[in-house]
């Protein structure tokens, strides 16, 4: 039993099922991120935890107490909304203390709690302003202050950074992470931004069409995605998917594909599992991240299984810190992440290096990972 348990939760609107059998257990002090494309049910799930939406079947428990049907204000949770939802008619100070006032906390106590939060978030100078007089970043801080002041068991964040400009978003992201480290509170955070999910979370639940596709640490999600959806949704540029034919020959397992000239390329697969072995002679999908597909000098020196092969460069996209180089393997377009000063140029034939330690394989029909 965790701190916050979601047990076989279902949600239907009429005949439309938007959440199917969600099981997530969040430990105390964990930072869980729900990530997925729009319409995947992540916000609905968050609202169900908050008590703003009913749960159709299943259970939500907080510290072992059943929360189904409990009013949002009695769940000891706080929520930061995408639009911040600051009360426009109240000052910052009133916004922050409104919840305490509603819970009949004495005035002196409210005042000291507010000062504490204002200091923590550095919004002391804004207390007498109205929300309309604040910038986006300041509103964001006030919204967090309103959540913090009640010292809840669980914080819920509903895409809190999506209304900020790119630079501020990165700054606030760091700040939320710091806040989590300092306060050690349990957080459930909804976003559609996979970078936010990777950087903030201690665990990620990737959702699609109402199903939890995979639940795991950021590293698990990134390195060993459970299926093709997770593989392509997480990571930017997304994982390269190359159709390959598996050939098992005694201990050795090889993945065969072709380069841009149609020449056969054989990539040795280290530590292939029995499931992959049993696919011998069949076509599967090889997934390889752009940073595991480099030029030969850029390959990870700690990796003992780097496979090299030549192929023609399609387009190069210098991005400052890296240069993205496209080519094709098995008639699928692939993106390789190379050093910024790589000598690859459009049309040239260069050696690509596959770091096969990072390669994963998927069943092309079901999309599920094969070990």
């Amino acid at each position: 039993m965790g701190f916050l348990d979601i047990d076989s939760a279902f949600k239907t609107y009429g005949s439309v099922e938007v959440l199917h059998n969600v099981n997530i257990s969040v430990g105390e002090g964990e930072f869980l991120v729900l990530v997925g494309p729009s319409g995947c049910g992540k916000s609905t799930l968050l609202n169900m935890i908050a008590g703003l939406e009913d749960i159709t079947s299943g259970e939500i428990r907080l510290k072992g107490n059943l929360m189904n049907g409990v009013h949002p204000s009695r769940r000891n949770i706080a929520m930061v909304f995408q639009s911040y939802a600051l009360y426009p008619n109240m000052t910052v100070a009133q916004n922050i203390t409104f919840g305490l006032e509603m819970h009949k906390v004495p005035k002196a106590e409210r005042e000291s709690a507010m000062q504490e939060v204002a200091e923590l978030l550095q919004i002391g100078g804004l207390l007498n302003r109205k929300p309309a007089q604040l910038s986006g970043g300041q509103r964001q801080r006030v919204a967090m202050g309103r959540a913090l002041v009640r010292k809840p068991e669980v914080f819920l964040f509903d895409e809190p950074l999506s209304n900020l400009d790119a630079k501020l978003r990165v700054d606030m992201r760091t700040e939320i992470k710091k806040l989590h480290q300092n306060l050690g509170t349990t957080i459930v955070y909804v976003t559609h931004d996979q970078i936010e999910a990777m950087t903030l979370s201690t665990r990620i639940a990737v959702m699609n069409e109402g199903h939890v596709q995979q639940l795991g640490t950021p590293k698990e999600i990134y390195d060993t995605p459970a299926n093709l959806f997770v593989a392509t949704f997480m990571g930017s540029p997304s994982m390269n998917l190359v159709p390959v034919t598996i050939s098992a020959n005694g201990e050795a397992v090889c993945a065969e594909t072709s380069n841009s000239f149609g020449e056969t390329v054989r990539l040795a697969v280290p530590e292939a599992g029995s499931d992959l072995r049993s696919m011998s002679g069949k076509t599967v999908t090889l997934g390889i991240r752009p940073e595991a597909l480099t030029d030969k000098d850029g390959a990870d020196h700690r990796s003992t299984h780097v496979e090299r092969c030549a192929s023609a460069v399609g387009v190069t996209e210098p991005a400052g810190s890296d240069t993205f180089v496209t080519t094709s393997f098995g008639e699928a377009e692939c993106v390789a992440r190379m050093r910024a000063d790589t000598d690859a140029s459009s049309g040239a034939v260069i050696e690509f290096a596959f770091n096969m330690e990072k390669a994963v394989f998927f069943d092309p029909k079901s999309g599920i990972r094969i070990d």
Binding site: A50, G51, S73, N89, F98, M102
Partner: protein
């Protein structure tokens, strides 16, 4: 070339502007003429009106007609002037406007933030109230007022106007609150505010423009209403409009036009005042939510 075109554009716009202003002044003059006639004739002795020109400025300026219209003129049985009826109207219009606005706000709040099955149909039915002609409800309403023992009282008129006004005020507030972010209500729920706390502390304080619209609309309609006043009020509760009619229509004695003019202005003054004080919010409120930003 471009500069020349621009210059000619400015010149055309200047001539057009002069034309527009002339036309507007003409219309303004035309519309203000009746007010001028009323004002001028309410401050001259009767002999100047009967013996001379309606348009001329008074030779002897006097406020006597105003005093007479307010406190001495024969309205109904007694020579009380319009004063008691003015207060009747105030006693009717203030609670009627207040109650119908608050109820409209509550309806709008429920219809947008506490949605339930069939809420759109219910709202559609309430909108019907805006299209029912007054005459149709006269007899049923008389029956209802009789049952409630409110016939002939100011509170009876308040009830009638509240019932008739709710359709409009609900329409205003529902449309205003439809654009009001629901996340605010949810945040307040998580903060522990109840149904009425959210209404009083969050919704109403943010509804300034639409409250002004509702108040102006309701005040003007209720103050100017004649039919319900004439049908459902007795002598002790007749509103200003009915009294003005009685004053002007009285068939005995000399027709004191100067007193009539003064009385008519007195009857129009409160709506004028409300419009001048709150009018600039009126258009702003009507447009609220229609354009982003």
């Amino acid at each position: 070339m471009a500069a020349m075109q621009q210059e000619s554009a400015i010149r055309t716009s200047n001539t057009a502007r002069v034309l527009i202003y002339l036309l507007l002044l003409l219309f303004a003059f035309f519309y203000l003429l009746p007010l001028f006639v009323m004002g001028v004739n309410s401050v001259k002795p009767l002999s100047e009106i009967t013996g001379g020109n309606m348009m001329a400025l008074p030779e002897i300026w006097t406020l006597e007609p105003w005093r007479k219209a307010w406190s001495e003129a024969q309205v109904g049985v007694q020579a009380t002037g319009l004063k008691p009826y003015f207060w009747n109207s105030i006693k009717m219009v203030v609670p009627a406007v207040f109650i119908s606005t608050i109820l409209g706000a509550l309806n709008g709040y429920v219809l947008t933030k506490w949605r339930f099955r069939g809420d759109t149909i219910l709202f559609g039915l309430m909108l019907f109230a805006c299209f029912i002609p007054f005459q149709i409800v006269l007899i049923p309403m008389a029956r209802v007022l009789g049952i409630f023992a409110l016939a002939g009282t100011t509170w009876g008129l308040v009830l009638v106007h509240v019932v008739y006004g709710i359709g409009f005020t609900t329409l205003y507030f529902r449309n205003y609150y439809a654009a009001f972010p629901t996340e605010l209500v949810r945040a307040a729920q998580i903060d522990g505010a109840g149904f009425f706390q959210i209404f009083w502390r969050i919704m109403l304080p943010s509804s300034g423009p639409i409250i002004v619209v509702s108040v102006i609309w309701q005040f003007t309609n209720i103050w100017n209403d004649f039919l319900f006043g004439a049908s459902f009020a007795d002598f002790s509760s007749q509103p200003m409009t009915v009294a003005l009619n009685n004053l002007v229509q009285s068939s005995t004695g000399v027709k004191e036009y100067n007193v009539h003019f003064a009385g008519a202005i007195l009857a129009a003054l409160p709506t004028l005042l409300v419009y001048i004080v709150a009018g600039r919010f009126f258009v702003r409120g009507l447009m609220a939510g229609s354009v982003k930003g």
